[in-house]
Amino acid sequence: MSKDRKRIAVIFGGQSVEHDVSILTGLQFLEALDLDRFEGLPVYVAPDGGWWTGEALLKRSFYPLDADKKKRLKAVRLDVGRARSAGAALLAAKGGLFGPKEDQLPFDLMVPAIHGSNGEDGTLQGLLAFHGVPFAGCRALASSTTMDKDFTKRVLGALGVPVLPGARIERPQSGASLEPKAMERQLAEGLGRLEFPLFVKPLGLGSSIGASVADDMDGLLAALLAVFRIDQAALVEPKVANLREYNVAASRATGVLRLSAIERPKSAADFLNFSEKYLSGGSGGAKLDEAPSEGMLSQNRVLNPEELTPDQSTAIQNHARCVFETFNLAGSVRIDFLSDAESGELWFNEVNTVPGSFACYLWQAAEPPLSFIELTTSLIEEGLRLSAGERAQTDVQTARAVIFDRG
């Protein structure tokens, strides 16, 4: 193994309901690094917001953390406010003879592997961009705009991408309750007329967490309350009959915009919920290190499903390209569609800028296939390239904005 390997900090976990899924995604990325060129540095964000690093984090069996386990880790924080020329680093606290000291842990690039709020939504990307820390994947603006499912749909709808009608319902101020009259008005505005069943989902989360079907007004209220426990707002849409979902990954990391294989997640139920997506086929717990069956998530999906007509495949690919270009995305993103299996109609559903497993399984099935190691390498190289291009321009002369004479 070469000595001058770049150190890649992969940040995962996070203050999000998708915390656990993010651990899997982060560890998978670390496991798929090209070890000849890169060295992984796990950075775990605990549910309380604390950042940790240490070898022990690499094992799934180490989670969840407790006070004892934390003794095997180092608490770290991002060194903010450094001069750009000093490069990026984490600071690890350590006790010293003359009071506490901090060790520097320099790194070359950070890979956000946090799903959902406080990570996939542009906040982390903004933090890193502001401090000149090179990072992989979507930039702050693309991450934050696509996190709002309603906004994304409105933009794409205006560009001719088919989207379902939807009503956005905000969480009531604390103490206040849902106003049925006001809500009915919002629903009518967004949906045209109120017709059950409806599909209710959080405005800004993925992994199907908190999503449910409402068959009547009582069901709708219950579904909204469930969403408001985890998000600021809900998106209500008509429930698609004969629902089939199709997902495709897109990336420009290798230089040109490429699309992956298309997948249809398998599900006997009306829609894919969290436990089906991540826990099916097991004893109810996420599968751990020593169970070599972890790769079997692939059994929950059909790759390049036969029922898709060439027209439908082309439509999915064209819409996916449009989404990628419109929001100027980067990294490996997954673009999800809904379809009515009987009518063949297709609608854009949402974008995941940090999809589970970085959608590696879709790339492995692409034509030509891209292995997970090739994917991580291309995402790292793209991140370094993008961040280098974003280096802040500080020459006041160029901007003809000189006020203080520099002699």
Binding site: L27, E31, L35, K59, R60, E290, P292, G295, Q364, A365
Partner: protein, 266 residues
């Protein structure tokens, strides 16, 4: 060991196997041989990643999963003969054998005894060379072996069940779980494949996790010296079993490279 009669008959029913990837005969074949106490499923996450590059045949070795066991006391020569019989029935072509742990013992015997059936070997966490142990460890082992024999002797004399209790207390997990395969297990763990390794002329890749305590990298290093045409990669951060799950992308990269470098491509 030479090809041909291993002294025991192969199992009456064919191996249980799973085939992944193209059926086309021009695609290279990868034969997957799992470790002791495992089934083909332990290699599935990795084999799935090779689906586009090769026809993958994953066997349940005799006595594991759904394949009938061989005659009592069968050791790795008999396992290799049984696998050879299976391979003869497959379409000919460029063939790579991938073994994990005990599967490597079988793979090595196969490559030495039936070179015409094996184009190359990838040994993941190979077993088969005696481990270098401390004097203290060896002393303890001799003591335990002696006590075991005494327990068995006492059982025979007195009709007691001392040996069973002894096995529960001191036997390895594999030994305790071996059931009707216990005789095979004892023979197999005591085999030394140094001579077999010296006979291998096919290209060989040896991959092992740095944190492997079952078949530590030290064994792989010695194999790399014994085998004429072998390359060794020690992967940091992986153990004996999780190299197959967490480490599968690393293994995939090395396997693909091996296929390309040794002309196993389409």
């Amino acid at each position: 060991m030479t090809a041909g009669d291993p002294g025991m008959s192969p199992p009456k029913t064919p191996f249980h196997k799973l085939t992944l990837g193209p059926e086309a005969t021009e695609a290279p074949q990868i034969i997957w041989l799992h470790g002791w106490g495992q089934t083909h499923a332990s290699l599935l996450p990795l084999a799935e990643l090779m689906e586009k590059r090769a026809t993958n045949i994953l066997f349940d070795l005799p006595g594991f999963g759904k394949t009938e066991r061989l005659e009592r006391g069968a050791a790795s020569p008999e396992y290799a003969a049984a696998v050879a019989a299976e391979l003869t029935a497959l379409p000919a072509g460029r063939r790579l054998i991938v073994g994990h742990s005990f599967g490597c013992r079988v793979a090595l015997r196969l490559a030495a005894g039936w070179p015409e059936l094996v184009g190359g070997l990838v040994l993941i966490a190979p077993a088969g060379l005696p481990r270098r142990r401390s004097v203290l460890w060896r002393g303890r082992a001799v003591g335990l072996k002696l006590s075991g024999r005494m327990a068995r002797f006492a059982d025979r004399l007195l009709g007691s069940r001392l040996h069973d209790r002894f096995a529960v207390r001191f036997g390895s997990a594999d030994y305790r779980n071996a059931g009707p395969l216990r005789e095979s297990f004892v023979k197999i763990v005591n085999e030394d494949l140094s001579e077999v390794a010296r006979q291998i002329s096919q290209p060989v890749a040896i991959l092992v996790g740095e944190a492997d305590t079952e078949t530590p990298p030290e064994i792989s290093r010695r194999y790399a010296q014994l085998i004429e045409n072998a390359g060794l990669v020690v992967l940091p951060g992986f153990g004996h079993l999780d190299i197959l799950s967490r480490g599968r992308h690393q293994l995939e990269a090395r396997l693909s490279r091996f296929l390309e470098e040794h002309g196993f491509g389409h």
